[in-house]
Amino acid sequence: MPMDFQYKKLSKKTKMILTILLVLGCVVLTYMLDQGMIGTSYTIRIVRISVIYALIGVSMNLVNGFTGVFSLGQAGFMAIGAYSVGVFTIPFESRANVYYLVPMSEKIVNVELSFATALIMGGLLAAAFAALIGAPVLRLKSDYLAIATLGFSEIVRALIANNQLWPITNGSLGLKSIPGYESLFTPVLISAAGIAFMVLLINSSYGRAFKAIREDEIAAEAMGINLFKHKEMSFVISAFFAGIGGGLLAVHLTAIDTNQFKIMVTYELLLIIVLGGLGSVTGTVISAFVISFGKELLRWFDLPHYIGGWAIPIFRPGLRMVIFSLLLMMVVLFWRRGLMGRKEFSWDGIYNFFRKWPWRWRKLVRGEYKIENRERRKTQKEGRAVDKAGRAAGRAVRREEKQKQKEVDSNAE
């Protein structure tokens, strides 16, 4: 074993073969799931929701992680996409049933679009809305932008549920009888294509401009990057894919109402991209799967559990979400980088990760980690001591001042 660890790269050919194998593996896995060879319909549901969240997550990461614009409007764009698909794909025969309170508007009652057309229309509609609100909103600074986009997504929800739009959106009753997926391949392929498009965009010169804006707006502007144009572009493209994702979600759920696009959805997406790493596409995809599956695993906590006939009182519906949000708080506080940080998945990374184990092991055996930790703790302790001394000095100064003030006061008397 050589003394020092050296980073080695795989040949291009090997990497190509590995990538092809991975893609083939995914296709085969999807096929097996679809044909019912492995897993149940429950597994298929979770996989579907994971790929949909992966697409929307990457679209949100494009704005938040790559362009550095803190936008929280994703739920609104999803709602636009979902309702476009919902309204136009409900079959004629069930329309009277769905719109039982207020009949569907004359103009659209005879319009039924195919899933693909409705989906693209939903995406374009979301993008158009984004372009419209982006013009004023994107000129704002980070926190204001967050609030304005958050407000926008609530406005969309209010509009959809509003009386005037009732003949189109069925208001607060929501839509049902949306035809579901026939095959698992539909959402997987659409989502993969969307993510691939965004990856190409990020690796293009536009993507480099986005990253430059993220790092330093003023420097980027000085380099001749048109700030507004690039921000608007990233915002609109992100909204387009959020709309597509919302449409996919509508078909997945087959019944939607405005409560499914509350701000909590945006928060959940934000936590997905934070766990995956702000500025990492592969991180987002991995974390969409981890979170979707994790949330289902945590369902155990929602069920009642008994010890010899005695129900343990803490296990009741809702505990799952509390644990879930606590875990995410842990990530935000102690593991800010997330799974991937700003890195992307690469074969070289995986290869070297495994190659590095003997060195790690040797370090562990020699107790070098212990020494490092001890030194780190020592510096931290010293730092705290310095802080404490500083505070004590501050207190002493204030006490002295008070004393002086008192003396001055007593002298004046």
């Binding site: 967050a146 609030i147 406005i155 928060y267 934070v274 809702g318 935000v332 500083g390």
Partner: protein
């Protein structure tokens, strides 16, 4: 709209505005000092609503003790959140601490759903507060008339505290320049804790005043008031306490009159607030009373 309806709406609007103003002060103070939108503030407000229910309905406290209890518990909650979720991220980028605030908000809503179930809970009677009071032709619960008075009194106390005491001076110093204040020997953490104590106690008082004329509390009932109050704080000029109060009044009155004048627009009343925000930010980003801040490179 006849004169009586007009006055009735005035009273309701001013009362709603004062409740908003108290929450907005919490936002504006935290933003002034930490440069952080405390997304959890609206949810702390919601928790205060639940604490009142528990204090009165479950523990059977008399209303005056219940009010003190609610303020105390809410303050403890707020300070605990600051210590656990914001303090470790003081040196981190702005985005991280904002995400942490969103995480706390998410956690609070989920905890409320778990602890108190997602179903709305009836708000209890608090002493004389809900008795209907007749002032000329206008009738409303007493709390509606008390709210603006309480708000103004608290505003003057707070202004005195900020302008005339040493702690207030330290607070102003920290909001002007965090680093320089630290170097001048100001204990930043103490000042931040005090800010949260003030913000949360005002949120608790506001929760009592806001929920008293309303029948229910549910886990999401803090969300919309929270966002609106942030808008109010921006409207008045963020970091500016009287500005937050003025912003709160504007939003409360505008909302009440919009619904009263155009009943068909009820669904848009929330949307209206954000349209107001966007217009304001475009034409006067520093708010009504805010000072112009030079952009530093």
């Amino acid at each position: 709209m006849d004169a009586i309806t007009f006055f009735q709406n005035c009273v309701t609007g001013v009362s709603l505005g004062s409740a908003y103003a108290l929450i907005a002060i919490g936002y504006t103070m935290v933003y002034g000092i930490l440069r952080l939108i405390n997304f959890a503030h609206g949810d702390i407000f919601m928790m205060a609503g639940y604490f009142t229910i528990f204090a009165v309905s479950s523990f059977g406290m008399p209303w005056y003790i219940a009010i003190l209890f609610v303020i105390l518990v809410t303050v403890l909650l707020g300070v605990a959140i600051e210590r656990a979720a914001y303090k470790p991220l003081r040196e981190a980028p702005r985005m991280s601490i904002m995400i942490s605030a969103i995480g706390v908000s998410y956690l609070l809503v989920n905890s409320a759903t778990y602890l108190f179930t997602g179903l709305p809970r009836a708000y209890p009677q608090l002493g004389f507060l809900q008795k209907v009071f007749q002032l000329g032709p206008v009738s409303a619960p007493i709390v509606t008339f008390i709210t603006p008075i309480v708000t103004l009194v608290l505003l003057f106390v707070l202004m005195y505290l900020v302008n005339n005491t040493k702690t207030g001076m330290a607070m102003r110093a920290v909001s002007k320049d965090f680093e320089a204040a630290k170097l001048m020997g100001i204990e930043i953490n103490r000042i931040i804790t005090i800010t949260f104590v003030i913000g949360c106690s005002l949120a608790a008082i506001s929760a009592i005043l806001y929920f008293s004329p309303r029948p229910m509390v549910y886990p999401f009932s803090g969300f919309m008031p929270g966002l609106k109050c942030f808008v109010a704080a921006v409207l008045g000029g963020i970091g500016n306490i009287p500005g937050a109060v003025i912003g709160g009044f504007i939003i409360g009155l505008a909302e009440t009159f919009l619904v009263a004048a155009f009943p068909a627009m009820t669904g848009y009343s929330d949307a209206f607030t954000f349209v107001l925000l966007i217009i304001m930010l475009l034409f006067r980003p520093t708010g009504l009373l805010g000072e112009k801040i030079a952009e530093k490179v």
